[in-house]
Symmetry: C2
Subunit: 213 residues, 2 copies
DNA sequence: CTTGTTGGTCAACGCTCGTTGGCAACGGTA
DNA sequence: TACCGTTGCCAACGAGCGTTGACCAACAAG
């Protein structure tokens, strides 16, 4: 078993290493279309079903290829999720944004991103049930949300605290609207959501520390 | 297959009907301790792992009995979840609450409930990955949250809208703190959370409709 | 003491899953 | 042409799952 396992692992590692290398070089391969189809199907299934219910077989079927191809190109299910959940929130820098419009700008940005990219839904769904998914959410929060928040926040309250408050409101609306699909949350228009949530986000990012009770 | 399925369904239905009947009568049975142990273990596993990863076998092991007992008492996995996810938010009526303290009162109430009852965590985790779980969340929102909100809200904005906004902020904080466990959300104290979130909730429940952009 | 009901275990079923290895076809390269 | 890496399909493995039915022990009722 040692030999078998070691062999398999080495093979997978080699495959991944080669894939990464080629990907960064950007040299085109004949299989690029297939790889892309797999990723698209994976994001689709992960977003709709979460980690456990999204099966490799279903993803392969949706991509129109054999399940073993998924293994060849992404090593295993975890590797596939890692590749499918790579995301860039494309947060605006907020430097050129009037200070009192930060909240509205951010809320609208998140709404647009959520409706235009299934990866975000996949990330939330998987983050809730899978430890690796939760880690991925942590990384996105740490590397993309916190720095942008830190750049515009006044002192007195840690930027990580402000970022967490922002995340709680944004994630909560996304959860209610796109994942749980609570009817009143679904039927709100984008403009209504911005109007209600913008003052909240604005306060979380720019207000002084509130008085404790 | 028709005969088999019909037979199994009839059997399960009978089991459930009998269980429900005895439960509503309240006549004590020798197996009450076992039933309770199963429910406790189920809530524990559902809260920690979500629907798919929480296996009947693991739940039975934690309850110290055989997996087949779970089937006998709750019919199937879905029936077990239905029983384990019955919940009463115990929302205060807010009638005797000073109007300007509604937000703080509600935020603190939800924090207490979340920390004192794993059922809430189970509900959120399962609601995200399982359609039946999402339905259960819808029911709780409709039957317990919306009516309380409707009782204290001014006209002009539908109570269901206000309830959805409330849910988005409460669920978002619960998601960040108890499910995803974002470090800055975990390290906040209860008092800090109340101080930051209370004005938000207060505004969602009592403010006039904001101006659309 | 017998008899029927209840509480509980055990071994197995059928199924689906992630994963593997072998094999055929294709396409550049020498 | 002959070769070899790449792309893809197919069949199967082992494991874990929900679920079932046969069987045993304890108790309650006659």
């Amino acid at each position: 078993m040692d030999a078998d396992t070691a062999g398999a692992d080495a093979g997978a590692a080699t495959n991944l290493a080669v894939a990464a290398q080629l990907a960064t070089e950007g040299r085109p391969r004949r299989s690029d279309a297939t790889r892309a189809a797999i990723l698209r199907a994976a994001r689709d299934r992960f977003a709709a079903d979460g980690y456990e219910r999204a099966t490799i077989r279903a993803i392969a079927r949706e991509a129109g290829i054999d399940p073993s191809m998924v293994m060849r190109y992404y090593g295993n299910k975890e590797g596939l999720f890692a590749a499918a959940s790579e995301i860039d929130l494309r947060l605006p820098l907020l430097a050129d944004c009037p200070r009192e419009e930060i909240g509205a700008r951010l809320v609208r940005h998140f709404l647009d991103r959520w409706e235009g990219d299934e990866t975000l839904n996949a990330l939330v769904r998987v983050g809730v049930t899978n430890p690796a998914g939760a880690d991925r959410v942590h990384a996105v929060f740490r590397d993309q949300v916190t720095p942008v928040v830190a750049a515009v926040c006044p002192e007195g309250v840690p930027a990580s605290t402000r970022a967490a408050l922002l995340a709680s409101q944004i994630l909560g609306m996304a959860l209610s609207r796109y994942v749980l699909k609570l009817p009143p949350a679904v039927s709100l228009t984008d403009d209504e959501i911005v109007a209600w949530l913008a003052p909240t986000v604005q306060r979380y990012l720019t207000a002084e520390a509130p008085q404790l009770s």
